[in-house]
């Protein structure tokens, strides 16, 4: 036992100038009791000339205290004075020696260098724009190659993870997508009902609900839910696997992470999302039908009858055809962000957030592009 410990009510560390040549250290020079002295330190009026510091009244000292005393002595000696320490307990003396021996390695605190405006713009452009674009294009290329290779040799496809992903991303999402789509159908019918009633065009509620749900809303809504549900899961799973070196392990065993982790997710989602969209279509129209009957007295039979005329096959297929594209976007963005994780837990969280935000953003961008292209093609 070389250091001593604070007693029941530890007194704060203190340093008093007792004469023109002597100063006394009192109290507990420990990290918990050092703060008041540290604040007072710059204001202490040191006597000119040589100084003896008496450490015998010291109650306790730890490395933090020893460091501070070492600093005081160093600063005074730097001003050309001779400082003598006396009365140090043997344990504290060891501590002072230990601190002095390690002190050489402790840097003087310097302000970090702040980069200039031009440098920051350059770094921002590179890190925020160029590097991610290059990264995602590379990733897209790699997954395309893996996909083509698998299609050329279908026996390489891993059906078990594909089916598992169909279940977790598709089947398990039925309830939430169905419910939300149903509610969306109700909302649209409810909002439209008043307007249509004013013109006596009650039956056109089928056009309104059918077209908006089937062509636009249910594919988009489903894709957004799946991006939040599965895109985040993909990023977090792959990211954690990267932190725990599982990805590296796969590579060394000779299993391409692309083939085991990315392709099954992408293919499964491209299969599941259209199916989910069909289900969402049905539920959305159902919601609209119920609302139409309640608000506009349009019977189910009349609604369904009108629905066949209102929504052309091409409109329906356009809606459905967007789903696999959205699925590919969500899966690729989720997996890509997962692979961008570096070793820290924080980075898993950050990349997962980016996966969801980018996934939803790109799905909506793709949807707008589809609208432009289809109106150009007069579909």
């Amino acid at each position: 036992m070389t250091t001593t410990r604070p007693s029941q009510q530890p007194a704060d560390a203190d340093l008093e100038i007792t004469s023109s040549q002597e100063a006394r250290c009192t109290g507990n020079w420990t990290s918990h009791n050092l703060a008041p002295l540290e604040r007072r330190l710059p204001a202490i009026a040191w006597p000119a000339g040589n100084l003896i510091i008496d450490a015998s009244p010291l109650a306790a000292m730890d490395t933090a205290g020893a460091w501070m005393l070492h600093g005081i002595v160093g600063k005074l000696e730097g001003k050309g004075r001779t400082v003598t320490l006396k009365g140090l307990a043997p344990g504290n003396e060891t501590l002072m020696r230990l601190v002095a021996s390690a002190a050489a390695a402790v840097p003087a605190t310097t302000a970090p260098v702040v980069p200039g405006v031009l440098e920051r713009v350059g770094m921002g452009t590179w890190q925020g724009l160029v590097a991610p674009t290059v990264g995602i294009v590379t990733f897209l290329g790699e997954s395309a190659v893996a996909l083509l290779r698998s299609l050329a040799q279908p026996s390489r496809l891993r059906w078990r993870p594909i089916l598992y992903n169909v279940q977790s991303a598709g089947f398990n999402a039925l309830l939430i997508t169905g419910l939300l789509s149903f509610l969306m159908g109700i909302v649209i019918a409810y909002q439209g009902a008043e307007q249509l009633q004013r013109y006596g065009a009650n039956i056109f509620i089928a056009d309104l609900v059918g077209l908006s749900m089937l062509r636009e809303l249910s594919p988009l809504l489903t894709a957004i839910i799946v991006a939040g549900r599965s895109g985040s899961a993909y990023a977090a799973q792959i990211g954690t696997m990267k932190v725990t070196e599982e990805i590296d392990a796969l590579r060394t065993i000779g299993v391409a992470p692309m083939e085991l982790l990315v392709l099954p997710k992408m293919l499964a989602l491209m299969l599941a999302l259209p199916l989910l969209t069909v289900f969402a279509d049905v539920m959305g129209v159902l919601g609209g039908m119920i609302m139409a009957r309640a608000q506009l007295a349009v019977s189910f039979a009349a609604f369904v009858d009108r629905l066949g005329d209102a929504v052309s096959l091409s409109s329906y297929l356009i809606g459905l055809g967007k789903a696999p594209v959205f699925a590919a976007i969500i899966a690729l963005v989720g997996c890509y962000q997962g692979f961008q994780v570096t070793g820290s837990a924080e980075s898993v969280g950050r990349q997962t957030t980016i996966a969801v935000v980018q996934g939803i953003f790109l799905v909506i961008v793709a949807d707008s592009l589809f609208s432009i292209v289809f109106s150009w093609l007069k579909l």
Binding site: T4, S31, A35, E38, A64, A103, A104, V106, S344
Partner: protein
């Protein structure tokens, strides 16, 4: 302040732990005295780390009591528990460093949480502790993921001694290190103990470390404790498992090494 040399720092009394039907500890009792280096040893899965986790209140035993600094860890208020936690430092098996902070920030964290010192002084003390553990100056600004396994252990040790704890608990301090780094770590622990006057409890199955550092060793073995005493006493034990432990091929060479050094 005078502290009696035989003061008990940790007292484990009749502790039993079970996971389902698997018995890990059966009526284990031991006491760690102030200033000694105490080791918990035994084969893989015999509950060394579990006992350590119970001592630092991360886990509760099924029966028995554990007192640290005289306080019963199972009947303790939040405030007392916090005070207790400030008096010990723990080095985890895989480091337990915060991956989103640099090494210097990791080491400075306990100081920032528990003291009112200025940021500048805290940075200096953190740098000092990093230097004490033998890490190069440049390591402070790095993130844990950028360090090698041995450096991570040192950084973890630097954080464990940030507040100058009275009790230092080490979980497998040398496991997974090359022999050179392992030897450095045990030199380091020995040096820190001498200069800071620590009580050390370590979990290890590194026989070299046991011979070189441990004042006393408790050997746990899938239920009841197999033996407790100095390495010399234990090496004369006629318990077949302890005998196996010491006189297996690796045990013998570690023992010969230790003899040569004496």
């Amino acid at each position: 302040m005078a502290t009696p040399a035989d003061e008990t720092v940790i007292e484990v009394r009749n502790v039993s732990t079970r996971f389902g039907s698997a018995v890990v500890h059966d009526d284990v009792s031991l006491a760690v005295r102030r200033g000694e280096t105490f080791a918990l040893a035994g084969g893989i899965g015999c509950g060394k780390s579990v006992l350590l986790r119970e001592i630092i209140m991360l886990q509760q035993p099924n029966a028995g009591s554990i007192r640290v600094f005289g306080q019963d860890t199972q009947r303790i208020s939040e405030e007392e528990a916090l005070n207790l936690r400030r008096r010990w430092g723990v080095m985890f098996q895989r480091g337990g460093l915060f991956t989103s902070l640099t090494v210097a920030e990791n080491v400075g964290l306990p100081l920032r949480e528990h003291t009112q010192l200025s940021d500048g002084l805290i940075d200096e003390i953190a740098a000092l502790k990093i230097a004490l553990t033998g890490l190069p100056l440049s390591a402070g600004a790095k993130y844990p993921e950028e360090l090698s396994g041995g450096m991570r252990k040192r950084a973890s040790l630097a954080r464990a001694i940030a507040l100058d704890p009275e009790l230092l608990l080490l979980d497998e301090p040398t496991t997974g290190l090359d022999p050179l780094s392992a030897a450095e770590i045990d030199e380091l622990v020995r040096g820190l103990k001498q200069s800071l006057g620590l009580t050390i409890v370590m979990v290890t199955h590194d026989l070299d470390l046991l011979w070189r550092l441990a004042d006393r060793v408790a050997i746990l073995g899938y239920g009841p404790m197999l033996g407790i005493g100095t390495m010399d006493e234990l090496s004369r034990s006629d318990n077949p498992i302890i005998h196996q432990y010491f006189y297996g091929p690796r045990g013998r060479s570690a023992r010969e090494q230790a003899w040569k050094q004496k």
